[in-house]
């Protein structure tokens, strides 16, 4: 199986889907001639031409709105927002238009838009470039939210997103672009809404996604050294998330730690734990532990920023707390 980077996996998915379906177009700031600010769209312009690979002005609201309008009338746009923070400028088009039009118009419109956006902290980009915005989108009915954690998932999920007839928010983690992994030839689209169990264990379940998946895996390694077998669940899809897989895992381990990069208030961990309490209260031997990003904006200073982001030792500690250690 070829080993490629997360960035290349995304790039391959775009190439393959554009070849497969003439309706797929890519648009965004610096996506064509420049190849994307993180080089995910590199080479697309040469292959597909400027009719299908479109450099736009710095106009996030209109980029998403244009994608929505084009989708309404039969195309399958894949807009890129350069960084998740810039999605704030497009929230009106995403939440007030894209997400609700099908519902509001009685099912008459179909909006197959996949909005790609890189996010996550850890690169000293300071507060205006480092938010983890997944919760905004997860909170919005009508959207599907995907967040791959590996090259294989990146490719399979992006293909699924593009083929799906619903609006998809596709989050990419800036810290993962260079991460390498095996990606099968002829990757098929992944099943949306299906979590993956990346490591099996019987003592505690670590539920993570996106950039936090590696943190959970690293924590599981450390826990193993201490004789604790952690099961690592990668959500992959944040909306609709896979309750079945999470609850089954909890039924096996009886302990859970959720791991998210965003701030904790009304976060992914809050959503997970509320559901776990509702669906699997009797299975729990300890309260759900939440590990999250700090409840503030990411500062520029290096150590200070790192203190805002969950690391493996934080997850290990939380896991040990569920075990009463």
């Amino acid at each position: 199986m070829p080993t490629i980077s997360y960035r290349e996996a995304l790039n391959q998915a775009l190439f393959e889907e554009m070849h497969r379906d003439e309706g797929v177009i890519v648009l965004g700031e610096d996506v064509a001639e420049y190849g994307g600010s993180f080089k995910v769209t590199r080479g697309l312009l040469d292959e597909f031409g400027e009719d299908r690979v479109i450099d736009t002005p710095i106009s996030e609201a209109a980029i998403v709105g244009m994608a929505t309008g084009a989708a309404m009338c039969g195309l399958r746009p894949v807009p890129e927002l350069m960084t998740v923070n810039f999605a704030y400028l497009a929230l009106d088009q995403i939440c007030n238009h894209l997400a609700l039009m099908r519902y509001m118009f009685g099912g008459q419109v179909t909006l197959p838009v996949t909005i790609r956006m890189p996010g996550g902290g850890g690169h000293q980009l300071a507060s205006q470039h480092s938010h983890s915005l997944e919760v905004f989108f997860v909170h919005t009915p009508g959207l599907i939210v995907l967040y791959p954690s590996s090259p294989a998932d990146a490719k399979a999920l992006l293909k699924a997103a593009i083929r799906d007839d619903n609006p998809v928010i596709f989050l990419e983690h800036e810290g993962l672009y260079n991460a390498e992994g095996e990606v099968p030839e002829g990757t098929e689209p992944a099943e949306i809404g299906r979590a993956g169990i990346l490591r099996q264990g019987k003592d505690v379940t670590l539920v993570a996604y996106g950039g936090m998946t590696n943190v959970a895996l690293e924590a599981a390694d450390t826990l193993a050294e201490e004789g604790c077998e952690a099961e690592v669940v990668d959500l992959r899809t944040l909306r609709p998330w896979d309750k079945e897989t999470v609850v089954e895992s909890v039924a096996r381990t009886h302990r859970v730690v959720t791991v998210e990069e965003c701030p904790p208030v009304c976060g992914i961990g809050a959503e997970l734990s509320a559901n776990i309490y509702e669906l699997a209260f009797d299975e729990l031997d300890a309260p759900v532990e939440r590990v999250s990003g700090a409840d503030c904006h990411l500062p520029y200073a290096k150590e200070l920023e790192q203190a805002c982001i969950p690391h493996a030792p934080d997850v290990v500690e939380a896991a040990l707390r569920t075990l009463g250690v």
Binding site: P57, L89, A126, A294, E303
Partner: protein
């Protein structure tokens, strides 16, 4: 302008330029991280636009903000410390290169959301008008910002309420890798702004004299209650968009064309043309700039980050 004033202009240009050279050095040595955008080549725009400002006027701008801060009279040490992420920096190391800010010098900050500062400038100007003061706001932004919705909303409101704003568009011809004709339906950004019913100017932003003379008028109008003006300063950044951009999208000829218009040799030649100046006098200024920046780097190097216990400070008014 007399000789002393012109030598001050030369000093400010060199300070802005050399600060960036030293930042690039320190960046390469790993003393700072994140995105870092240098102003190299565009010095005459900011020096000219700000030359006629009073200390109590406001300046606000984009993430390419080192020069604004220094030209407002900011302490180079506090700027450098900010870039190092140290608590001795003007924002305690929380903002970094893109987000300098300092009340003491009425610098209302550098912002990294393209065009995000434009409505803030409208609000700052409203506060001036409301209090009946005769201060002005100078707002700096790039050519790319003119394609944002909020930019147009802000220009419209500035004119509608006749607020004391000088809009300074640094047209360096590129927004990262996208040139103006590839992103703006109307290539003339001044004409684009003119629909908001205010005086608009197109000026050679590589020429301090032209820049300051246009700015003088715009500032005087704003101060006199005649509302906003728009200045399109045509300029060029000599380096990539940020420290991580190799800028392969620009031809060598194009870069050469603009290097021939370098504002610093130009101001030097102009001073020499009008006054008897020995080369040593320029060298003295250069040495002063070097010394000040050595001190700034030393100050920044001696600092340290805020302790983690203070992470949540400043989120709310306590």
């Amino acid at each position: 302008m007399n000789k002393a004033e012109l030598m001050e202009v030369y000093y400010l240009m060199q300070l802005a330029r050399t600060f960036e050279t030293r930042v690039a050095e320190q960046y390469t040595r790993g003393k700072m991280g994140g995105f870092c955008h240098l102003y190299t080549g565009e010095e005459a725009v900011a020096v000219g636009a700000m030359w006629h400002l009073r200390d109590d006027d406001y300046v606000i701008g984009s993430y390419r903000d080192h020069a604004y801060y220094l030209l407002r009279g900011g302490d180079p040490g506090k700027a450098m410390a900010e870039l190092f992420g140290h608590k001795e920096g003007c924002c305690k190391g929380k903002g970094g290169s893109m987000h300098l800010f300092d009340w003491d010098i009425n610098f209302l900050g550098g912002y990294a959301i393209v065009a995000g500062m434009c409505p803030l400038a409208v609000g700052a100007a409203k506060s001036i008008q409301y209090r009946g003061e005769d201060r002005v706001v100078v707002c700096f932004f790039g050519d790319g910002a003119t394609n944002q919705g909020v930019y147009h909303e802000a220009l419209n409101m500035g004119s509608l309420y006749e607020l004391p704003i000088v809009w300074v568009c640094e047209n360096n011809h590129y927004a990262i890798g996208t040139s103006v004709p590839r992103s703006s339906a109307r290539e003339s950004l001044a004409r684009k702004a003119r629909s908001y019913e205010m005086p608009t100017y197109v000026v050679d932003g590589m020429d301090f004299f032209k820049m300051q003379s246009v700015a003088e008028r715009a500032i005087a109008d704003a101060r006199a209650g005649k509302g906003p003006s728009f200045i399109e300063a045509q300029c060029y950044r000599y380096r990539g968009h940020s420290m991580s951009d190799p800028a392969t999208y620009r031809s060598e000829e194009e870069v050469e064309y603009w290097k021939k218009r370098d504002p610093i040799p130009r101001i030097k030649a102009a001073i020499k043309h009008d006054f008897e100046v020995e080369e040593e006098e320029f060298e003295e200024v250069d040495a002063r700039v070097r010394r000040e920046l050595d001190e700034a780097i030393e100050f920044a190097s001696e600092g340290s980050e805020l302790p983690v216990e203070r992470l949540y400070e400043d989120l709310y008014v306590e």
